[in-house]
């Protein structure tokens, strides 16, 4: 997770030195590491049939898959924000028995294979499972619906946001919150006006990670939601399906998925007005950064 943390952590400016204590051979290994990521990307881009690119990605099933992916990933990211912020706050600020166990369990989806996560969801919310049955009596079937897609994505993405935000909360500490309280701010006001703005970079990077993870979710989605075109077949599922029948279409769609992910990551990390920079440099426009 550390690799993906904000590049400029707040209140830590680089020294204006020409000196750095990185041995040269480190650059060699770093280069190999970078190539390991970049080469396969280039290899795939080289396979893209550019002449037929537009027709390949604009087939009915592709458009449906892309639209579904963007919608469900957005919904899942919102869920992660709504429940991830409280979870991170409780883990970072509160002290209670079993906290360590709770953290470990919440982070479990990071290490458990997504297929296993999908099975767990199926045996909880599926038609034959205990919660699923209750929903069924009200005429709601969760499994194999778009709702199931969102749930599968949120299940695997939530830990990313919680982990990123909890780290930010711990780094920010409670000093500013304590000052705000002595100035008469109620806990909810402190949260809204001090805590969340201060950890905004961590929240943004956590949300971006959650969105990217949701966008790429495959195993849990397939297990819990199936692969129905327009309903549960997201872009990764479409790519996997096309790989068998139309490899060119699979490559084109893969490129599309990479492009969308890259845009999201760049938007969050590289824009000059990124909340990261505004916060760190204090070079905000005259109006308030925050609502």
């Amino acid at each position: 997770m550390q690799v993906l943390a904000p590049r400029n952590s707040p209140r830590r400016f680089g020294e204006p030195w020409q000196f750095q204590a990185v041995p040269r051979w480190i650059y060699l290994l770093a280069g190999v590491g970078a190539l390991f990521i970049l080469l396969p990307l280039f290899g795939m881009v080289a396979q893209v049939d550019w002449a037929a690119f537009i027709p390949l990605i604009s087939s009915e099933s592709s458009i449906a898959a892309l639209g579904l992916s963007l919608r469900t990933a957005t919904a899942s990211t919102l869920l992660c924000i709504i429940f991830g912020i409280p979870l991170a706050l409780v883990l970072a600020r509160a002290r209670f028995r079993g906290q360590g166990v709770l953290r470990a369990l919440i982070l479990l989806p990071l290490v458990v294979p997504p297929v296993v996560g999908g099975l767990a969801l199926l045996y909880t919310f599926g038609r034959v499972a205990w919660i699923g049955q209750t929903f069924s009596t009200f005429g709601i079937d969760i499994a194999f619906s778009t709702t199931a897609v969102v749930m599968a994505q949120a299940f695997v993405a939530l830990p990313f946001l919680v982990l990123s935000l909890e780290g930010s909360l711990r780094t920010a500490g409670q000093k500013y919150e304590a000052v705000a309280a002595t100035l008469g701010a109620r806990p909810s006001t402190v949260l809204r006006r001090i805590t969340l703005p201060l950890v905004l970079p961590g929240l943004v990077s956590g949300a971006v990670l959650a969105f990217a993870r949701s966008l790429g979710e495959f195993g849990a989605t397939l297990t819990f939601a199936g692969s129905l075109q327009g309903v549960t077949r997201t872009l990764p599922l479409e790519i996997y399906l096309q790989r068998e029948t139309d490899p060119d279409a699979a490559v084109a769609l893969s490129f599309l998925l990479i492009a969308v992910s890259l845009v999201v990551v760049l938007l969050a990390y590289r824009t000059p007005r990124s909340p990261l920079r505004v916060l760190v440099r204090g070079s905000a426009p005259p109006q308030d950064v925050l609502p």
Binding site: P10, R11, K175, Y176, A178, V179, A180, A181, T182, L183, G184, A185, R186, P187, T189, V190, R193, I194, P197, L198, L200, V278, L279, R281, G282, S283, A284, P286, D288, V289, L290
Partner: protein, 373 residues
Amino acid sequence: MTLELTMTIGARHLELALSVGSTETVALMGANGAGKSSVLQALSGLVKPDAGHATLGGRPLFRLGTGSSARTSGTGDTGSAWLPPHQRGIGTLAQEPLLFPHLSVLDNVAFGPRSAGATKAAAATTAWQWLREVDAGDLAQRKPAQLSGGQAQRVALARALATDPELLLLDEPMAALDVNTTPFLRSLLKRVLAGRRAIIVTHDVLDALMLADRIIVMEHGRIVEAGPTAAVLTHPRSAFAASLAGLNVLSGSLSGSTLLMPDGVKVAGRPAGGPGAQAPHAAPEPLAEGGPEGMAAFAPSSVSVFLSPPAGSPRNCFQVRVTELEPHGGHIRVRASGLAADVSPAAIAELGLEPGTEVFFVVKAAEVVLYPA
């Protein structure tokens, strides 16, 4: 309408009681680790004492039971109460300004009034008023990162005052500032603290002299000395207050114009209470039996240093071993066996003083002030 505080923190061996009048500024002084910050944190509601109670202007801040009653869970313990920090009306100014980095200077100062429910416009008006009061009106639109340390601390002061706190807690507010900006902030504090209730934790005797009506000296979690600033500094009773006042202080039992020290040495002096002398202040609590009954104080500048005991009757002579030499405003301060003498550099060279030298500190009886402990 006073602040009344009684508190105990077992783990820190802290146990004390104090009260502060409605327009009084009290300097809380003592060595690091004496518990000064714990007192401030308990008052602002960040640290819960094991037991004790506090009221501010008739409002209870907290009431925590002693021992077993505090541990009883449930709603049975009706005597226990704890007001959260945001309901206490106690402002703080710490060593670090801790301005909210994402808000402009104006919004920082307006934060308190906004939290109290003021409209945006009203809060801004209050903020402008306080920013001008601390001479920081031209900084209003800046971000905290664009301020110098002194400017940031002034803004932090304005932010604390903008809530019109019933009690202002200042925790070494000038410790992180450079020497050039300290005098300005100190005179600013003197102006805004007038007619206001405040507790200032400081290591600087100048802060106490300029800002405080009273000094409370803490040692190892207890109050060892308390009294009006002038009285504490002219007739110090604790070693800490003596070093603050820059005086040599000896304790023993008093009889007439001599002080008999526990090791049998007699110190001749003149009893306090003569013309111009400060009225002795009361000790914070009755002293233990067999404790020192009197003190003798004399300035390091009144001490002469000799290599052999001089002849002459109305003089006190202490045989000591030099431990340290340090520059002290044009003189060299010679520290030896807990006493200090200020000597000219030429005299140091002539006597050949260095750490380890056996010397005699000599002080005229007329320079020694005796007072009851």
